[in-house]
Symmetry: C2
Subunit: 330 residues, 2 copies
């Protein structure tokens, strides 16, 4: 029998996948489950595309494009060249190797298979020891209310390169969605020790998961420490529009805003060295490390920091916040 | 307004496409319509694939693989490599450029578009001046009864390389199929001068079209000469299993068998120089040329031979068979 995961990570795409890889590297095989955002998913050219699931899969399988952080390494673009030549939409890049998953997923979903089932099968196929879980089997679509009108996620994110100003977000289909039963199994397992919220965009990547009815309650009901890794370093995002969106939504792009956003969900926060002073003022258990993840040593360090903070919080369940006192302001 | 086609060709894949290209080259733009076999079509990896339509399209567009006679020139195989690596079925080769048509066709068919409409659009996209017509909009599947059991066409043709012995053929869905309305328009047009049956496999490529109810009658009702180009040269097929299947079905692989097979449909036959003596004994108008088509000069020569025979037959409508007397035995 496979060992039950001791850690559940919540992840979006590139940044979250890097931490997931760090966790996979420091945990024994099968010790990690990753709950992945599917609010970015869309149907393009008739194909069902799940960018965050694929980014996490490719990253954990060691076949992700090393510079981009998404898509395949050693990729070719014959399909895309030809699509462009024939006048097809060319704003969303689809590599020839990458197409295998999209075509296979589209076929299997049409045949009635659940996204959770086929995602687990894809992970097996790539030799990934981690359990990959979409946040729901039914479709949820992140919609952005912007100064350029209502936009589906990929149109905002890829086609318009996050340029429109965001006024609000909605998650279409979330009310009808349910967490997959496989997640409940992980959360109910006695093996579970920690839930780690990856440094993904809280608004675009983590909130869609939390918008699924029952998700917050299910995470809390696991009764293990929930630790987030802040996506900001000195008030800036490593990649992507986190800080830009926070400004547009009237929030300061700082650690306090992140802590406030996750209030009620998390028990502790991992922050970058640049944000140590800010973190001391929060009244929330925290730990400090360099959170920029450029190589596997970085990914493992941040993973260990998050796991250690969770372990400290768990060791002091009677007085949970005291456990992280070493990281708190005196 | 586009000129109405003066010639309708009936074609399967590689061999038929070569003659269609010859006809396209000797006729004015828009002067040709090609009715294409769709009995080879199948759904693979969830994609609707129409091998003969695509072969004719690529050939007429000048982008076919010059050696193979099917598939794209300058093709790449990143998708196929990756599919194989992931353990997917690799017996049917799908190039990266080629995938554009399959994916687009699958999407548009699912959206309710007719195959005839989207095929015409594909031809426009590739700058092909010829009207491409699938034999029907609904699905028809050529099934082979063989000593290896019942086989779908592509499994017989590609996966098993035509090795099983054929005992019989059936065209599933043919009884429910109808020729597309666009074909009726071509056949009713006063511009139509000739119908040319390409040197495709009579059993695998032409018979599926003739199995569509009303097809034979519609072709005859056009009241223009119907001329076939024999697929045999000295009792052998240029390519493919025509002669092998004829033997397995208890037919001699000769010109007389071809003429008998098309009896009631054709008014004349184009045969290779090697078969001139045989043709003289048939009591059917015929003409002789070298029917092997290796280059465009060959393709144009065979096209002209077929058109000249049809013109001679048309010039003598009162005594149709006398028109071809120059080609008949004295």
């Amino acid at each position: 029998m496979k060992p039950a995961p001791s850690v559940l990570a919540l992840s979006g795409g590139v940044g979250g996948a890097k931490l997931a890889l760090g966790l996979q590297r420091v945990l024994p095989p099968g010790g990690l489950a990753v709950l992945v955002n599917t609010g970015d998913d869309f149907t393009h050219l008739g194909l069902r595309i799940c960018p965050d699931l694929d980014t996490v899969l490719y990253t954990l399988a060691g076949v992700v494009h090393p510079k981009q952080g998404w898509g395949r390494d050693a990729e070719t673009f014959g399909f895309m060249d030809e699509l462009r030549r024939q006048g097809g939409p060319d704003w969303f890049l689809l590599g020839d190797r990458d197409l295998v998953l999209h075509i296979e997923r589209t076929r299997r979903l049409a045949a009635g298979e659940r996204l959770t089932q086929l995602t687990a099968d894809f992970a097996r196929r790539f030799g990934v020891p981690t359990l990959l879980l979409p946040m729901a089997d039914s479709e949820v679509a992140t919609l952005l209310d912007t100064d350029a009108g209502a936009l589906e996620f990929q149109h905002y994110f890829v086609r318009l390169r996050c340029e429109p100003r965001v006024r609000g977000l909605a998650f279409a289909g979330a009310a009808q969605a349910r967490p997959p039963e496989e997640l409940a199994t992980v959360l109910r397992s006695a093996a579970l020790r920690a839930i780690i919220v990856a440094p993904s965009n809280p608004f675009l990547s983590i909130d869609p998961m939390l918008a699924v009815p029952g998700m917050r309650a299910a995470l809390r009901a696991a009764r293990v420490p929930v630790v987030a890794v802040s996506p900001l370093i000195g008030g800036r995002a490593v990649k992507g529009p986190t800080a830009k969106i926070m400004g547009e939504l009237g929030l300061a792009a700082d650690t306090a805003s992140i802590a406030r956003h996750y209030a009620g969900l998390i028990d502790g926060l991992v922050v970058d060295e640049a944000d140590a002073d800010e973190a001391r003022a929060l009244g929330l258990p925290f730990t400090v490390t360099r959170t920029l993840m450029r190589d596997d040593a970085d990914r493992e360090r941040v993973a260990r920091a998050a796991l250690h903070l969770a372990a400290r919080l768990a060791d002091a369940t009677s007085v949970p916040t005291a456990a992280a006192s070493t990281g708190r302001s005196p």
